[in-house]
Symmetry: C2
Subunit: 334 residues, 2 copies
Amino acid sequence: MEVDQVVCLPRLSRVAVCGGTHGNELSGVYLVRELLRTGGGAAAAAGEGGPEVLTVMSNPRAVQQCRRYVETDLNRCFTHAILNGPPSENAPYEITRSRELNALLGPKGSPEAADLVCDLHNTTANMGLCLIAYSDCDWICLQIFRHLQRAMPDVPMRFIHFDISCKESYSLDSVGKHGFAMEIGPQPHGVVRSNVFTAMKLGVRHTLDWVGMFNSGTVFEGGCVEVYTMVRNIDYPRDKETHSITAAIHPQLQDRDFCLLRPGDPLFQTFSGETLRYKGGEPLYPFFINECAYYEKGIAVSLARKTHVMVPAIRVQAGEGRADRREFTSEEEE
Amino acid sequence: MEVDQVVCLPRLSRVAVCGGTHGNELSGVYLVRELLRTGGGAAAAAGEGGPEVLTVMSNPRAVQQCRRYVETDLNRCFTHAILNGPPSENAPYEITRSRELNALLGPKGSPEAADLVCDLHNTTANMGLCLIAYSDCDWICLQIFRHLQRAMPDVPMRFIHFDISCKESYSLDSVGKHGFAMEIGPQPHGVVRSNVFTAMKLGVRHTLDWVGMFNSGTVFEGGCVEVYTMVRNIDYPRDKETHSITAAIHPQLQDRDFCLLRPGDPLFQTFSGETLRYKGGEPLYPFFINECAYYEKGIAVSLARKTHVMVPAIRVQAGEGRADRREFTSEEEE
């Protein structure tokens, strides 16, 4: 590999690991508690090149009540509009909290923002481990994804891209210069399953290991990554008057996240037993199939197009591949 | 079979099918809605011997909020003490509601009570279909169980016995002369899975079919039934100060409901990775492994002893095996 093919990127000095953004997604809740108890995040990253790690329980009130949120979904509160709206004493708790988190980890879009935000989530869908990000050309996120794939070959793993601008992006991970949600399922909300917890713990550890290696000057080779780009959502069939759903995900679709859905394939089974079929014109990849929290959002399943992205080789910018911690400055990505 | 071996029991004139007793256990919620919409319960039972069927949404406020309960667990409110306590305007919603349901389906322990109450539940545990009852010698419940086993051979099915007196029994099904919870899993709370919904729909249909056949004079042969009698619960390991759990169900135990747990077998895996083992002196059968709603009740797993019960042949009492519906009178079971 020739040196001039390697993209040089700023050091990742400050990394946040967040859990409990949804208070009933328990892998992240218990992993953050464990990291806080043992100093595990900092310990894992304490080697040469290790970044400063902030471990954050994002929505402690929702965690305390084991609910997704108290008043409104925290993970929809990180748009520029909400973060920069007028202060209000009567604002829902989560809006106040999103501004606190933005002060801690951001401000979003500013040079002071954390270099990387990893936000931990669970889903009831059979999605394995997914990194969900707003860019399909963030080489840091994509190289971390490739590292996790290599380090955890037994865990099904995908990269999901939501094509939303920085300004409109709404989730906690969008506050960092780089960021992703680490989403693992299937796990019922309000439940912690050991295998899912262990996968998340390993995913976080390997992420922090990668950051340490990156900061120390390791060159990460380029390669091709499969990316699922979100296209659209499909809602449940609903009763026109009551808005109550009238069908469930079809048994032939249930648990088949990322298996190609073709026009005419079974999509729903009504409660009276009828099969409803997918009427889209294009075969697409379903994900978030039957996610608990999305009933209220009108999403029975999300659909994605699969693409391939060529990721370049990367390394830390010259002069930054060293173990001492730099001040958190206004470096710009190239 | 000689006639004098057949136990004769009173006709089952009035049957209640209840769902939404826990508002986020969605199979029962949507099945009750479907039965109310189509008159399905009454229609299924409309043949010769068919009973009067009451279809009941037990906790509509909790259903509306998709929560287990609003103020307190409705399915713990049907003790004699709570049902007969002094009226209070400040009582939690569920206590008021339990008294309404007792007026509709009971009064509990009285001759006016419904003949059979079938209450629909879901669990996050991998329990298949279970009938849960307070007696291991209620021949009606046990014969219905045998009928469901024969009619639905592909569904794993068990009979669970909680050895609690009528006075102390606390669940909605205890209001009927006969009653059971039909518990099906695994299904996350707040989610409806088609396969679980279909199993419940079939379970209810076959139950009502059986009642119709019984009322029409069919003789049901005796036989042996496996019964799991609840022995005790085990709580999660918890932090002494915060009471937060410090371990999850061990991956080798997760999803293995009704597989014998022997002394020394793995029970929990702590969040730091340590295995904790079952220290009981007796091999027992685990169930409700990692049930979401039981974290707050201090139950990580319940343990049962397996016994075998000889169920006699039964038929309806002489003169009652006819299609016309009798008045609801003060017949006593023999």
